[in-house]
């Protein structure tokens, strides 16, 4: 089975996530797109772990999963703060730092 199947699937998921990060206005949806990108990285790591027949790639994927969980926790806390202060979860309302 060609390893490229998995790599190109992962590249597709990554690009879908990149599109979501750029095109979404709702901050919860932006966080979901970031998760999509992190998940694409995990597929790559597992595919290379299978190719090298080494467990290191799987351990890296576990670390990525852990850090993704931490990231969502912090990210949602920030989203809640934005919502509390601006009464809206939309990211283009966050413009206080604009000159």
């Amino acid at each position: 089975m060609p390893i490229n199947y998995f790599l190109i699937l992962s590249a597709f998921l990554f690009c879908a996530g990149a599109y979501g990060v750029l095109a979404r206005r709702n901050s919860v949806l932006v966080l979901m797109s970031v998760e999509l990108m992190l998940n694409a990285v995990n597929i790559n790591l597992i595919a290379f772990s299978a190719q090298a027949q080494d467990v290191a790639g799987q351990v890296f994927a576990l670390f990525v999963i852990t850090i993704a969980a931490a990231e969502v926790g912090i990210g949602l806390a920030i989203v809640l703060l934005i919502y509390r202060n601006l009464r809206s979860p939309d990211l283009d309302r966050v413009e206080q730092l604009k000159g």
């Binding site: 999963i65 969980a69 979860p89």
Partner: protein, 168 residues
């Protein structure tokens, strides 16, 4: 071998469709549900790649914990449950699509160039590599310092999330 290919394609098509659903859905809850399909699909791909332990961690952490967090986020930001055409996206949709397609094209060309001839060969010994025993062994021998650092990171994230979200 062909069973694996069929399984791969079925799961991959479902994942790709669901990924597009995540970034195109007009309803925040639908996007979260599409995200579940993507995560479950990747868990299935990990099983195809004989990484059993990571697959179950994926199910537990991503589908079990992260999706629940997202649904809480949807609830707490009072996202509208009905369809909202166009309100969830900003005005850069076309430019973003161009960027994403360009990125995918570049990645695909480079991947085919670099790994075009590489075949994955599955042996029985790889089932052992993906087992919980082997992964745990590797974490607690070779990667014990990163493991401790990650536990500190989780603690910091926990404290940080509480400090950010508390009301005073």
């Amino acid at each position: 071998m062909w069973e694996q290919q069929v399984a791969f394609w079925v799961i991959a098509v479902a994942m790709a469709g669901a990924a597009i659903g995540v970034v195109r859905a007009n309803n925040v809850v639908h996007a979260a549900l599409f995200l579940i399909v993507v995560f479950a699909g990747s868990a299935a791909q990990y099983i195809l790649l004989l990484a059993e332990f990571v697959a179950w961690v994926q199910v537990l952490i991503y589908i079990g914990a992260i999706i629940v967090l997202f649904l809480f986020g949807v609830m707490l930001t009072r996202a509208p449950m009905r369809e909202e055409r166009g309100k969830l996206d900003n005005s850069q949709r076309l430019a973003s699509a161009v960027v994403a397609l360009f990125l995918f094209g570049v990645l695909a060309v480079f991947l085919i160039d670099a790994f075009g001839g590489t075949e994955l060969r599955f042996r029985d010994s790889m089932v052992e590599v993906g087992s919980a025993a082997s992964v745990g062994d590797s974490i607690f021998r070779q990667f014990v310092i990163p493991f401790e650092v990650v536990s500190m990171l989780l603690l910091a994230a926990l404290v940080g999330a509480v400090a950010l979200a508390r009301r005073d």
